[in-house]
Symmetry: C2
Subunit: 343 residues, 2 copies
DNA sequence: CGCAATCCCCAAACCGCTTTGGACAATCGC
DNA sequence: GCGATTGTCCAAAGCGGTTTGGGGATTGCG
């Protein structure tokens, strides 16, 4: 256990009040006393007990990240790791703690209520929003500052969020493929109930429509984003009577699967068939270099984590600074996986 | 903010003492009062304030996971996500909170000292141990219960850990390849300073030695486990004058890279060249099915998380239950990526 | 019926910090 | 020179729980 304020004060012949003020930069202590206090604190490796401090101040100095795990799929989305690393940087800088809750989706409401009732955190970040997500209404009702990583579509009340421009990204990517002469473009998307998947599909559909192309339901898939999912999708679609000449993938992992599926069929990316993927810039799946392997809609999810955390902390400091939102644009980076449609 | 104990007690016309006891199962309250208390608590959604409770009891009811991020590489190991999901299950069941710290490796010592001095947690889980890891000595000195996910090699004091049998896994995998006639086997390992990498290499070397084969330094690589790393390693090694006929990969991500590198060279896995990888059973990189794509040394890192958390909690409850350790064996599962050495 | 034991319950102290409301000197203004 | 500021410091009251040390009302027993 560490030194307590009382002990530290006693060792200096001062009252806890004075030492507390000295360390917290209040004006009513003399410069000499302040310095003495600071030196003693450093020497004793004194750090105020978090729980006592936050009990006294009413602020937990902690933010919760609630990560839903679908009870049916049990898949932990790998982008969380990088997002959280980004958020962690911000918290560290501002003296906040990060608490993590992994909750099965049938226990989410209870988890939020519990978190708020216990007062364990000052704010929460909501991960993996669905198209219709009841968590926003719940959190608003509970009256705790929160920020959504992503958005949801059917909520009428305002809320704070940070998202990438999914619709525009996929709209541009689709347009790009169309300009290359592709007319049959497959969309290998995330689970249908996820909000990002909906927006991406909308962007894709709109680009097709604007080009006068009719979308083919057989070319659109929704599922959890695993490597084998991409593999199977590629293999099956390529064997259609009228196969696609290009693929749009919702994540690098899926893109890997697609590439494997295609190359197993003897198709070469960028020549026989084109692939564009969304790239979250996960640190262990880099897609850079002079010519990235994949043409991609790129946006750093780690940077998103940093910014989301900063926004939430501002919200915690000043809840009336109102709903905050940030829409990050993605870059469409050209890689080796796209080319003109073969004829 | 939630209801306080005082308010709840007042609403029942009882003292806080009595209600506290009723809810915590102490014997000195009548059955009727206890029930009244419990019902009222449920109705009011009362949850004791975490900070107040732990201040009073001296227990934080929280565990920290400290995740080192190398300042030079900035890579967040993706296995953390699944490990943490497993640990989270255990914590949820036992009423513990999980706090996460992402720390640059030059700030680790400070992070641990801070954590302990503030008394924010009852125990910590150490991730990513290196071959020589000073953190073990530091934590022992700080006197906080801790458990290492993995092991370290140069520490003489006992400590608690949970690890997979890396050495035996790679020993068996290498043996298996040798029995298939492979004599030139490449090892595409993780970073040299990581303890798991050392152990895997040892297993590999011993198997070679036992078979009377001399290891070739040109066939052994160490680096951060990314996909492009596997890709480059495969491409370069295959072009050696005496190329390997088999690869041992330290993770699925690396194995994906290797496969891509090989198939770009026109080599087919399992026929022209063999690959065995370690498989952590990450949820989004499944390697199962009737015939898994990769022959692999398999062990669920999620299950490891569950068990590690349970062990640490036991250590927290009874610090004298002594250093605990668990060595999980891996399964060598046969997939489609291995076959007899071509001649 | 009287006294002790048993049941239930409560007041108050405490965990380690912050913060309010002074107290006491030294300094200032006139 | 004297009252009013100003500058420093401290005692005490919380924050929301748990826990110690009783205390009053029942019950049990002789």
């Amino acid at each position: 256990m560490g030194v307590t304020l009382k002990q530290l004060a006693a060792s200096l012949g001062l009252s806890p009040t004075t030492v507390s003020r000295a360390l917290n930069g209040f004006p009513e202590v003399s410069a000499a006393t302040r310095q003495r206090g600071e030196e003693a604190a450093a020497r004793a490796n004194y750090h105020p007990n978090t729980r006592a401090k936050s009990l006294a101040t009413g602020r937990a100095q902690a933010i919760a990240h609630v990560i839903p795990v679908s009870t049916s799929h049990e898949i932990v989305n790998p982008v969380f790791a990088d997002f959280i690393a980004g958020a962690g940087e911000t918290y560290a800088r501002q003296g906040y703690e990060m608490v993590l809750r992994i909750v099965p989706d049938d226990a989410e409401a209870a988890a939020y209520r519990d978190l708020v009732a216990r007062g364990s955190v000052d704010g929460v970040i909501v991960h993996g929003p669905r198209t219709r997500d009841r968590r926003i209404a719940l959190l608003a009702e509970l009256g705790i500052p929160f920020l959504v990583h992503g958005r949801t579509s059917d909520v009428n009340q305002p809320y704070s969020w940070l998202d990438i421009n999914n619709q525009r990204s996929f709209h541009r990517a689709t347009q790009f493929l169309i300009e290359f002469g592709h007319t049959r473009i497959a969309l290998i998307n995330g689970m249908a109930e996820m909000d990002f998947a909906t927006r991406r599909r909308n962007g894709y559909l709109r680009a097709l429509e604007q080009a006068g192309l009719t979308p083919d339901p057989a070319l659109m898939r929704h599922a959890e984003m695993t490597e084998p999912y991409g593999y199977r999708a590629a293999q099956e679609l390529v064997q259609l009577p009228e196969p696609p000449t290009a693929f749009l993938a919702s994540s690098m992992i899926v893109a890997y699967g697609i590439r494997r599926g295609l190359s197993d069929m003897g198709l070469k990316l960028g020549r026989d068939i084109s692939v564009i993927t969304h790239d979250d810039e996960l640190s262990y799946l880099p897609n850079d270099g002079d010519v990235p392997t994949f043409t991609a809609t790129r946006s750093s999810v780690r940077e998103a984590g940093r910014r989301a955390a900063a926004m939430l902390l501002q919200l915690v400091d000043a809840p009336d600074s109102g709903p905050l939102s940030a829409l990050m644009e993605t870059a469409l980076v050209l890689g080796a996986s796209t080319g003109p449609a073969p004829r």
